[in-house]
Amino acid sequence: MSSTLLSRLLVLPVLAGFALTGCSSLPGGDGASGKDGEDIVTIYSGRNENLVGPVIDKLEEITGVEVEVRYGDSAELAAQLLEEGDRSQADLFFSQDAGALGALAKEGRLATLDESVTGSVLAGYADTEHHWVATSARARVIAFDPEQAPEVEKMTSIDDLLDPTYEGKIGIAPTNASFQSFVTALRVDRGEDGAREWLQALKDNDPQIYDKNGAILDAVDKGEVALGLINHYYWYEKQDEVGADQLNAKIHFLGSDDPGALINVAGVGVLSSSDNVKGATKVIEYFLSEEGQRYFTDETSEYPVVPGVEARDGLVALEKLEGSSVDLNHLDSLATTLDLLDEVGLT
C-alpha cells in the first residue's frame, strides 16, 4: 500500500508544474481575463450576480460592449480596489451602496464622470463632485407582523419604536450596511447626542440582533419579533419567492422627514486607472437608459432614479415619496457611526 501511495505522490510535482505554468483550458480556467484589452470593460460588482447578471447580459447584447464581471461584497471589493491601486484591471465599480463609492472617491480612485451622465438622474442622486452616479434607490421601511403590531401602519417616526410595548420584539441588523447608513442619517439629522440618546433608548428596549435584512423579515414573518427595520425590496423579493398569500409580514413607509425613512442608493463609478473609460461610460448610460431602469424597477423591485420611469405597483414614485431630507453625500462618516454603535453596545 505504501509503495503505490508513494508512486502517486511522486506524480504530484509533475501535476503541480502543470498547474503553475498555466492551465486555462481546464475547467475554471482563466477564460477571457487573459486578453483584457482596451475593448473589454471589467466590472467589479458588489451587487449580487442573481440580481444584476441578467441586466449585464442584456447590455452586452444591446450596446455591443464586451463585459467581464467579478462579483463580491461591496466593501471587500472596495478594499481590493484600494490594495490594487493604479495597477487594477477594473474599469467600473458597481456598488451596493454609496459608502463604498465614497471611500474610493476619497482615495482618488474614481474618475470624474461627464455631467451629461450625472445630470440625467433625479436631483440628489449623483455625487456632487461627479465621481459616481446612482443607478437605483431603496427605502428603509418597518416590516411588521399585522397580528402582533397592526398599529405600525400608522407610525410616522422611529421614535414610536421606543414604546415599551415592543420590548424584546424589534429586529435589527446593526452590522449590516443598511442599518449603519440609517444610523448615519440619524446622526446627521439629530446630531451626535440626539443619535446616542435614540440608540440607547432602542438598546434599552432589548432589540433582537440579526445579521441580515432577510433574516429580520423571516423572523417578523414567523412572528418571532413584532417588527423590524429593513429595506423595502426584501419584502417584494420574499413575496415573489413564496407568493403573496404565504407572506404574513407587511411593510410600512414612515412617509415623513425622518431618518427612519432614509432613501439610499446603489451606484457606479469609473476607476481613475481604467483604460476603457469610453466603454465604461456606455455601460453606465445603459444602466440609466429607460430599459436599464425598467430592469431595476421590475426585477429587483427598486426605485428608478431617472425621471419618467415609473416605480413598481404599490410603490409611490421616488419624486413623491416623502423621505428623510438627509443628503446622501453626508453619509460618508461611517467610522463615526461605528464608534457610536460600539459605545452604545449595538453590534
Binding site: 500500500m1 505504501s2 501511495l5 508513494l6 505522490l9 504530484l12 510535482p13 503541480a16 498547474a19 498555466g22 486555462s24 481546464l26 475547467p27 475554471g28 480556467g29 482563466d30 477564460g31 481575463s33 487573459g34 471589467t42 449580487n48 450576480e49 442573481n50 467581464e68 464581471v69 467579478r70 463580491g72 461584497d73 466593501a75 471587500e76 471589493l77 472596495a78 478594499a79 481590493q80 484600494l82 490594495e83 490594487e84 491601486g85 495597477r87 487594477s88 484591471q89 459608502g99 471611500a103 452590522t175 450596511a177 440582533i209 440579526y210 445579521d211 441580515k212 432577510g214 433574516a215 423579515l217 423579493e237 420574499k238 419567492e241 461611517l334 457611526t337 461605528l338 460600539d342 453590534t347
Partner: protein, 517 residues
Amino acid sequence: MHSPTAARPRSRQISGKPPWFLLVPGLVAAAVALLPVAYLVIRAFDSGTGRVLEVLARDRTIELVVRSLLLTGAVTTACVLIGLLFAFLVVRSDLPWRRTLGVLAALPLAIPSYIAAFAWVASPFDMSGFRGAFLVLTASCYPYVYLPVVAAMRGIDPATEEVARGLGKSAWQAFWSVTARQVRPAAAGGALLAALYTLSDFGAVSLLRYDVFTRVIYSSYRSSFDRTPAAILSLLLVVITVTIVVGESRLRAASEHVRVGGGTARTPTLIRLGRWRWVAGSTVVGVLGLALVFPMVSLSYWSATGLSRGVDTSRLVESAITTAWFALLGMIACVLLAVPVGVLAARYRGRGSAFIEQATFAGHALPGIVIALALVFFGIRYAMPIYQRTPMLVLAYAVLFLPMAVTSVRSSVAMSSPRVEEVARSLGKTRGQVLRQVTLPLAAPGIAAGAALVLLTAMKELPATLLLQPTGSRTLATSLWTETGIAAYAAAAPYGLGLVLLAVLPTLVLMKVQAGR
C-alpha cells in the same frame, strides 16, 4: 519482525545540519506562509505606531479577544474530549457497529461550519449566541482531533501494551499508561487545528450572532472602509496564534514516541465496555445526531424544496467540477510545501526548523479575507501575470491550509524511528535516497491523510476564492454565497448539498487510508 521501541524523545532527532533539499523548500514554504503577516505589518504601521496603540487599547478590542478565547477554549476542550472518546470507542472498545460509527464520526468534517449554522438558523430551534456557536464549531472541529488520534492508536504496536500487561496491569490500565500517552502528540496537533479554526471562523459566528474577534475585523473592512484597524487587529490575532502554536509544540515535545518499522496488522486487545456500552453508544449517537444527521436532514429538506422549483443543473455541475479542480491543485501545492517542513520539524529540531514550522502556522487563525487582501497586495505588484488566475488562487490555498498538511506530515514522520534511516545511511544510501525510499514511504499514510484534509477544506473556502479566482469561474461555495446573498435558502441548499457530497469523498479516503494502517 517489528520490535517495540520506546526510544527516548531526545533520540528522535537526527544529529547534524538539515540537508539543503529540505532546508531550501522549507524556507520557501515559510516565506509563502509569512506573506500575510508581512502585508499586515506594512498596512498596520502605515499610519503610525500611535494609531496601532489606540486601536489595541479600545475596550471593545479587549472584550472581543476575551470572548474569542472563551469560545476557542470551550470548543477545543469539547473537541479533545469527543475526539479521544470516539477514537477509543472505535479502535479499542467492543462497541457494536464500531466500524460504521467510525466512518460516520469523521463525516461532520465534510459539512462546512457555515452550512451547519445555516441549518440551525433555518430551523425552528433558537440556537443563536454562544451555545449555537459552541455546538456548531465543536461539531465541525472534533474530527480534527478524532482522525489523527484514530491513526495514532492504530499505528501503535500492540506489543507495548502487551509488555505492560505482562508486568501485571489490567487491560484498561495498560491502555491508559501506554497508549493514551502515545496519542498525546496527535491529540495536541488536532486540538491546535480545532483552536485555530475556531479563532478564524467568521461564517458560523456571524450567522449565529455571537460576537467575536473576526467580526470586528470584518466590520472594519465592511463599514469603515478602513484597512488599518483591521490590519492591527489581525496582527493581534497572529500574536495569539503564535502563542498557542508555541504552547502546543512544548506540550508535544514532552511526549513524543517512536517505533521501528511501518506497523503491524495485528489487532490490539479490545477493552470490554460492559454496562458502559449503553452510555457510550448513546453518547456517540447523540453527538452524530447533532453534528451530522440534523444538518444533513435540514439541507436535504431545503434542497428538495429548491430542486422542485428548478435549479440550473449545468451551473451546479460546472461549479462542482471547478471546485474539485481548484481544491485538487491547492492540495498538491500544500503537500509539496508541507513535506519538507514536516520532515524538518520531526527530524531536525533546532531553531531553524522550529522557526520554519511555526511560521507556517502564523497566519492560520487569520480570516480568509485578510489572507486574500495580502495576496492581492503582493500579487498585483510582483506577480501580475498570474494575478486573478488559477496559480494565484492555488497559492492562496497553500497559505491558508499549509498547517493542516504540515501537522499530518510531521506527526507521521515523527512516529517512525530515525534509527531506520541511520541503518539505510550506513548501507550506503544518500540522504536524498533515504528520504525517498525510507522516510516518505513510512509516512505515506499520514501524508495522504493530510492531503485529503486539505482537499476537503479547500472545497469549502469562500473569501479568498471570491477575490482571487479567475474572472467568470464559479465554485460551489461562491454559488452558495450568491444564492444566500439574496436570502434564497431553498435555491442555495442544492449547492450546499453538492459541497457536502463532494467533500464526503476525501473524508472517506481519509478514513480508509488510516484504517489501512
